[in-house]
């Protein structure tokens, strides 16, 4: 096939047609705009999907609340600004290369000078009988995800065919939809392309522990259907079968090269439009980029970073005009694409998995360094050369080191490889920081940004935050996996340049929270406005403050209220305007704008009568109920206007606010202790109730959690709490600064064998010292790590009274205890305070129409479809409004 000869002018083409508006297509358009090609050329885009380009990589985040709009990667106004004609929902149907025209499904015919194909891939569906039954899906587009979500409403189990990266994401989504989820993978391990056998085993164990059923080394043989032709289950190649109502195929993708084939362009043996290093196809007027293209190295890349690079390559080539005779290519055009790194890091079902470089150890004579701890679900392998050059690796369970290790690939790391895989505390030195990276190391793979470029953004472009660096260099705006290393790098660079890192609380205050606490205490300032006008930054005085300092100051004022003589009720006067919405409505805001309600259940002890009341209230108001980890009951789905009626019933039955909405004491969890348990040595329930009643309502820099166990078997998990107490034969052991959650920390033993009153005195001092000195939103675990002198210093202050402030701290706590009032009882008693609990100020009786629910497992869940439209019309509901 003879390629048509190129045009003779060296000017940019007049009409460019892009087929496919996916992630790569959009990046291509942006690159055209950057090269200012859009200023003179007409650009026409055919987009098959019903919406402009969106972030396919984060498709799964739809299930955690990102709306289709939120996924968009097409800046609003972009097309208009650059005069690009975008035909949404109109795919290109044929290309006539001789006439140089593209004709769309809707019948539009556009003549082009340059055609760019960015048609992406389609999911491969293996030819199993029944694959077209109702209930079979693929996982690639927003439409797929919407269809799966809708179909899963009535379903109980699902099968994902394919245990690769996407398969695991899809499985996570099904699991999140409440389905029993099976993963069927033909290879002997999960993620066979990215991880080796050991990593696969660690992954399988962890994913199995999460409650998913993993079937490896088997293939789907046939899909069973019911009488109505819908999916009922799947038979597997080993003779077994699983019951399922839906099947998601995620068995790889194939390049969409059909249009190119029909137009007679060269395609690779295994598919993919063949392109050269400038992304030109066998017809020099036609380019192909992204997943539909087979790159010059003969590979088809299924990742976004290589696609972006191809987009930039093609745009640069087009901007430079038709290539003159080969050797004279100007430097600006010399951008070429010859192959890419396929490193990946992601969180699958909450399990970190990363692989980079030669992860499977394919190179000749390479060696492995492996650390594996199946108990903790950790597996780390580095592949090195004989001379110590890092070739690649696999990390499962803990991927923190990825950001530094990947850029080090191809060089000899500054510390021996075994130290790089050992967990901290196991004799390993401090983790490698970004300082170890050479300047030309690529720290952000998605956008190909080097360490030098990040440093340059700080040094030459005066960026002072990661966000600014992201805006300046694009680093971090792709998959986000480089965030950690980027932050460290930016901070290092700022420190190195002697930029005083501003430690102020926010744009309004140059003081830290601790300093503000002292100012409020010493000067007895009881008003936010006064604090702002007298102690705020010059430019912020007499302003409105901000969302950071308002709740922080509100918390300080509440903590110090008894001492400075302020009113502790958090909703009155100016105080009301400072509170986060949760504190403002004394309930927890949920994703659809409804609130959840958590009454206090001290120590987790509750009478049957009270339990019945909780059930009745939930039933009567249609609330979703769930038992919390803190031994209480969370009632979800209350509209703001229902809160007073709900609480009237609860207060009537003797319940108080549980402060689940506040940065305050949450719960003191307990085991049954010596009263019932044959091992118990103290009455842990009694102690838990005493502590919870003592500290209820205490406002603090962050939430506080506590627990009491009746013996060293530790059934209440006290060592994962901000303060935890474990009974001993002689009294109580006090542990402090533990944490569960995302960054678990074992609590440290502060004092041993304490009598009841000694214990309470130490906890009083500990909590007040924390409230006085911690930063905003700093949990006790982080605070202790930061505290100069660490645990030793803390013990000196709290137990040894080395600062001579113990009596004062105790007094403050005594004042708190004396002034405690139940916030909900106080609210209900005051019509003025109740007035705010309406959905609409101008229609007090009208419920918010966007807060609706649909059934799920015999309860309700938010109807999120109501939130995706631009507006929800309400009819005939304005009667109650004031004229």
């Amino acid at each position: 096939m003879a390629p048509t000869t190129t045009a003779t002018t060296a000017h940019p083409p007049r009409t460019i047609v892009l087929v496919g508006h996916g992630m790569v297509g959009q990046r291509f358009l942006e690159a055209l705009a950057e090269h200012r090609v859009t200023d003179s050329a007409r650009v026409v885009v055919f987009c098959e999907e019903p919406r402009p380009a969106y972030d396919r990589m984060h498709l799964t985040s739809y299930f955690s609340g990102t709306t289709p709009d939120g996924l968009s990667v097409t800046p609003a106004g972009f097309m208009a600004e650059h005069g690009i004609e975008l035909h949404v929902g109109d795919p290109a149907a044929a290309v006539d290369r001789a006439a140089r025209t593209v004709t769309s499904a809707a019948g539009r015919t556009v003549a082009y000078d340059v055609l760019v194909l960015a048609t992406g891939s389609y999911p491969f569906v293996p030819p199993v009988p029944g694959k077209d039954a109702r209930g079979c899906f693929v996982y690639r587009t927003i439409e797929d995800v919407l269809a799966i979500e809708a179909y899963a409403q009535g379903a109980t189990a699902g099968v994902v065919v394919g245990g690769g990266l996407l398969g695991l994401e899809a499985a996570g989504a099904l699991k999140g939809l409440g389905l029993r989820t099976h993963i069927v993978e033909f290879a002997p391990r999960l993620m066979p392309v990215q991880v080796d056998e050991g990593g696969g085993a660690a992954l399988r164990r962890t994913i199995g522990d999460l409650g998913l059923d993993v079937h490896t080394g088997v293939a789907g043989k046939e899909i069973r259907t019911d009488a109505a032709g819908a999916v009922a289950g799947m038979e597997l190649s080993d003779g077994s079968a699983v019951a399922a109502d839906l099947v998601v195929f995620s068995a790889g993708v194939r390049p969409r090269d059909g249009l190119a084939r029909e137009a007679g362009l060269d395609v690779g043996e295994r598919g993919g439009i063949a392109v050269d290093e400038r992304c030109r196809t066998s017809d020099p007027a036609v380019y192909a980029i992204g997943e539909c293209a087979q790159a010059a190295d003969g590979r088809v890349y299924g990742l976004v970073a290589p696609g972006y690079e191809m987009a930039e390559t093609a745009a640069a080539a087009i901007a430079a005009g038709p290539a003159p005779a080969p050797p004279a290519a100007p430097a600006a055009v010399a951008k070429t694409f010859t192959g890419a790194d396929t490193s990946t890091k992601l969180k699958l079902l909450g399990v970190g998995v990363a692989s980079f470089g030669d992860a499977l150890g394919a190179a000749d004579g390479c060696l492995d360094v492996v650390y594996s701890d199946s108990r903790a679900g950790l597996y780390k392998k580095l592949v090195v050369d004989r001379d110590g050059t890092l070739l690649g690796g696999v990390l499962v369970g803990d991927t923190d080191a990825y950001g530094v290790l990947r850029p080090l690939t191809g060089s000899v790391p500054p510390v021996p490889p075994e130290q790089l895989v050992l967990p901290p505390g196991a004799g390993a030195p401090a983790a490698l920081g970004p300082a170890a990276l050479p300047d030309d190391a690529v720290v952000c793979n998605c956008h190909n940004v080097t360490k030098a470029a990040v440093r340059g953004a700080v040094a030459d472009h005066d960026c002072t935050t990661v966000r600014e660096v992201e805006k300046c260099t694009r680093a971090g705006s792709g998959c986000g996996s480089c965030e950690k290393v980027l932050t460290a790098l930016v901070n290092d660079e700022l420190a190195a340049r002697g930029v005083a890192v501003d430690t102020g609380l926010c744009r309004c205050f140059a003081h830290t929270r601790t300093e503000l606490y002292e100012i409020v205490r010493v000067k007895r300032i009881s008003s936010y406005v006064r604090l702002l006008d007298e102690h705020g930054r010059e430019e912020a005085r007499s302003g409105d403050g901000c969302e950071v300092c308002k709740p922080a100051v509100a918390s300080i004022l509440a903590s110090l209220a008894p001492v400075i003589g302020a009113d502790g009720y958090v909703l009155d006067g100016e105080q009301g305007a400072l509170q986060d919405t949760n504190d403002h409505f004394l309930a927890n805001l949920q994703r659809n704008g409804s609130y959840s309600v958590v009454p206090r259940v001290p120590g987790g002890e509750i009478t049957p009568e009270k339990l019945i009341v909780l059930g009745e209230v939930a039933r009567d108001f249609g609330l979703y109920t769930k038992i919390t980890g803190g031994q209480r009951v969370d009632l979800f789905g209350a509209r703001v206007d229902q809160l007073p009626a709900i609480w009237a019933r609860l207060v009537d039955a003797g319940f108080e606010s549980g402060h689940a909405y506040g940065k305050a004491l949450r719960t003191v969890k307990s085991c049954v202790g010596s009263t019932w348990c044959r091992y118990g040595v103290q009455d842990s329930v009694r102690m838990a109730i005493d502590l919870e009643l003592r500290y209820r309502g205490l406002r603090s820099p962050h939430k506080l959690k506590a627990a009491v166990s009746g013996c060293s078997r530790e059934c209440a998990e006290a060592q994962s709490k901000d303060f935890g107490i474990i009974a001993t034969a002689a009294g109580w052991n006090l542990y402090v600064c533990g944490n569960g959650g995302a960054t678990p920390r074992h609590a440290d033993l502060l004092a041993q064998d304490l009598a009841d009153d000694e214990l309470i005195r130490l906890v009083d001092r500990f909590l007040m010292f924390y409230i006085r000195t911690a930063d905003r939103l700093e949990r006790t675990s982080v605070w202790l790590e930061r505290l100069e002198g660490g645990l030793g210093h803390l013990r000196d202050v709290v137990v040894g009274d080395s600062l001579g402030i113990a009596a004062e701290l105790e007094e403050q706590m005594a004042a708190h205890v004396a002034h405690y009032r139940d916030e909900w009882a106080a609210t209900l008693a005051d019509p003025e305070r109740l007035a705010r609990f309406v959905s609409f100020v101008n229609a007090p009786g009208v419920p918010d129409p966007s807060v609706r629910f649909v059934p799920e497992r015999d309860q309700v869940k938010p109807d999120l479809t109501l939130l995706s439209g631009p507006a929800i019309p309400v009819r005939g509901t304005l009667e109650g409004a004031p004229a």
Binding site: G70, P75, P551, L578, R591, L864, L867, T877
Partner: protein, 127 residues
């Protein structure tokens, strides 16, 4: 707001929002707390979030948080950002904390995003 010589004996200050159909009364000024918002239902069924700044000026923007789809902007915290043109009031969404300029509806944390902004006036009317 001006007081005319012939003002009725008893008047109240009322907050009104400009919609396509004209000025629409929302509530008495006294109902608003400086630094906080309320939600209001407009005749066409859309929702507006109405705020009062520290110095007593009222603002209204769409109540829907474009990042989550939830109708909650009225429940965010009001703040102000110092800028060359003086300090500009904003509200921070209570869900994911993105900030929106109260006068223009523009998102301060994402150039591409904006919510509708409404004209607001405080009218003196007979009680």
């Amino acid at each position: 707001m001006t007081t005319t010589a012939y003002a009725p004996a008893r008047t109240v200050l009322r907050v009104e929002i400009r919609t396509a159909a004209g000025w629409h009364p929302v509530c008495d000024l006294g109902v608003l707390t400086p630094g906080r918002g309320v939600a209001a239902l407009l005749p066409d069924g859309t929702q507006a979030a109405v705020f009062l700044g520290r110095t007593g000026d009222a603002y209204a923007i769409g109540n829907r948080d474009p990042f989550t789809g939830a109708y909650v902007l009225s429940r965010g915290l009001v703040g102000s950002a110092p800028s060359p043109q003086g300090s500009r009031p904003f509200v921070a969404s209570p869900l994911l904390k993105q900030r929106f300029d109260l006068a223009t509806g523009r998102c301060l944390d994402d150039d591409e995003v904006a919510v509708p902004a409404y004209q607001v006036r405080i009218a003196e009317v007979a009680a």
